[in-house]
C-alpha cells in the first residue's frame, strides 16, 4: 500500500512542479518566447529578420500598432514584443535576454540597464500622467485625491517598486495626503483590473490606461498629477542582435508618425 501511495505522491509532485513553473511563466514566459523562436529564421537568412522589443506594459497598444507600421515599411522583418513591468524587463535584459530595443516606463528602470553597460544614451519619447480611475458608477463618489483618504474608500495602488507606484507616491506626497491602500499591485494593468472588476473604489493609474480601458473605468484628473509625471525613455541595446534595424525602430517611435499614435493614446509629448 505504501508503494502505491508513494507512486501517487511522485505523480502529484510532478504535477505540482508543473504548476510551479506556470507561476513564473506568467511573468517571464514572454521573455523566453523570442529567444526560443529567434533560432529558426536566423538560420535560414544571414541578415536579421526579426526585431525584439522589450517595452513597458503601458505601451502594449501603441507599440503593437507601431510594430505593424514598421513591418509594413520593412518587408520580411517581424517585430516581436515582450511587454511587462519595466523593472522585470530590466532584470531580464541584465540577465542576458536577447533584445534589440528597450522602452521603459521610468528613467530608474532604464538606469538599471545603462548602468550595466547594456545601453547608451536613452531618449525620452513620451510622458505619462496619473489619473484616479473609478468604476463607471463610482460607488464611493470619489471626486478628488482627498477623497481617497476616507477609510471607507478602498484604494489600489501599484507597488512602489514599479514605476506607476513610484509616481503615485510622488503625487500623494506632493498633495501632502496619506492614503492607506488595500493592495499594492504588481503592475499597472493588475491595478486597473481591480477597478474594472469593482473590487476597489479607486486606483491611481496612468491616463493612458484609463483611455485604453475603453469605458470600463472612468478617469478623474487631479492637479497634483503634474508633480509626478513619468518620463518614458527608449534605447537601442548595445548587444542588439538586429543591429541597424533597432535604430530604425527607435527613429520610428521618435518620428511624427510615432508621436501621433502615442498622443492619441493619451501620452504627452516630452
Amino acid at each position: 500500500m505504501f508503494r502505491r501511495v508513494s507512486g501517487l505522491l511522485i505523480a502529484v509532485v510532478l504535477a505540482a512542479s508543473a504548476c510551479g513553473t506556470s507561476d513564473t511563466s506568467d511573468t517571464s514566459g514572454t521573455a523566453a518566447a523570442p529567444s526560443a523562436s529567434s533560432g529558426a529564421p536566423a538560420a535560414s537568412a544571414p541578415a536579421a529578420t526579426e526585431l525584439i522589443v522589450f517595452a513597458a506594459a503601458s505601451l502594449t497598444g501603441t507599440f503593437t500598432e507601431l510594430g505593424k507600421t514598421f513591418e509594413a515599411a520593412h518587408p520580411g522583418i517581424t517585430v516581436k514584443f515582450n511587454f511587462g513591468s519595466s523593472a522585470t524587463l530590466a532584470t531580464q535584459i541584465t540577465q542576458g535576454a536577447p533584445a534589440d530595443v528597450f522602452a521603459a516606463a521610468s528613467p530608474a528602470t532604464m538606469k538599471t540597464v545603462t548602468d550595466a553597460g547594456l545601453a547608451a544614451s536613452p531618449t525620452v519619447f513620451v510622458k505619462n500622467k496619473l489619473q484616479i480611475a473609478v468604476p463607471p458608477d463610482n460607488p464611493a463618489k470619489v471626486e478628488s485625491l482627498k477623497d481617497l483618504t476616507d477609510p471607507k474608500v478602498k484604494v489600489a495602488l501599484c507597488a512602489e517598486q514599479v514605476p506607476c507606484g513610484a509616481a503615485a507616491i510622488k503625487a500623494l506626497d506632493a498633495a501632502g495626503i496619506k492614503v492607506t491602500p488595500v493592495t499594492l499591485e504588481q503592475d499597472v494593468k493588475a491595478t486597473l483590473t481591480k477597478v474594472e472588476l469593482g473590487e476597489v473604489d479607486a486606483a491611481l493609474v496612468y491616463q493612458t490606461d484609463v483611455i485604453a480601458s475603453d469605458g470600463k473605468v472612468t478617469g478623474i484628473a487631479f492637479p497634483e498629477a503634474d508633480q509626478a509625471i513619468n518620463d518614458y525613455p527608449i534605447a537601442v541595446l548595445s548587444k542588439a542582435p538586429a543591429g541597424p534595424l533597432a535604430q530604425q525602430f527607435v527613429e520610428l517611435i521618435l518620428s511624427q508618425q510615432g508621436k501621433d499614435v502615442l498622443t492619441k493614446a493619451g501620452f504627452q509629448a516630452p
Partner: protein, 268 residues
Amino acid sequence: MRETERMPVAGRLPWVLVLPAVLGLVFLVLPLAGLLVRAPWSTLGQRLTEPQVLEALRLSLVTATIATLICLVLGVPLAWCLARLSFPGRRVVRALVTVPLVLPPVVGGVALLLALGRRGLVGQWLDSTFGITLPFTTAGVVVAEAFVAMPFLVISVEGALRAADLRFEDAAATLGASRWVVFRRVTLPLIAPGIVAGSVLCWARALGEFGATITFAGNFPGQTQTMPLAVYLALETEPEAAIVLSLVLLAVSVIILASLRDRWVNSP
C-alpha cells in the same frame, strides 16, 4: 503493513533507467544551486531580521496551515465520495476536482474574484447580507491557497482509499458498524499515511502559492503579502533580496517537510 527493505534483483546496473534518473535529479537541483551560489551571504543575517520579511514568513506559514486544515475538512470527504460512492457523473466530478491543477493560478485568482469578489456571483450576496468581503483580506489569501492546493489532497487521499483493502471495511460492516463508524474507526486509520502525504503536498503548494493570491487577495504587507509575493516584488528592484527571501522560504519548508516526513510518512 510496512514493507521491509528488499534487496534488488542482482545484475548489472540498468543504465537506461539510471542515466535519465541522474539527469532528472540534476535538472531539479541545478536551479537551487544557482540560488545558493548567487545568494548574498554577507548581508544575509541583516536581511533576515527585517520586520517585513518576518511578517511575510509568518503570514505564509499561518495561511498555508489554515488552508491545509480547510482542505482536510472538505477534501477528505470529497475523496471518500469519489472512491467509495458510485453516482452518475463521477468521472466528471473527478475531472472538475482537478481543474485548479491545470488552471493557470492567475486565472484561478480572476475566477475567484468573479465568484467571491465584491461584485462576484456569491461575493455580492456575502457583502450585502453579512458585510463580508474576501478580497484584500488574510481570509482571502487562505481561500486562494485552499482553492489551488485542495486537488493535491483529494487526489492523494482518493488514491489511498482505492489502494486500501476493502475487506477490513466489509468485516466491520458485517459486524454491524454504521458507515460513519466504519469510516472513522477503520478507513481513516487505514489511509492515514495517504492523508498525511496529501496534507504535506497541499501545504507545500499553499506555501508557494503566488498567482491566485496576488490576483484575488492583492498584496499588502502584513495583510496579504505572503513570501512568494514579497519575493516577486523584491525581484523588481533588488534581485539579491529576492534570493534571500526565496532561500528563507525554501529552508523553512524543507525543514518542516523533512521533520514531518521522518515522523509521519514512512517511505518504502
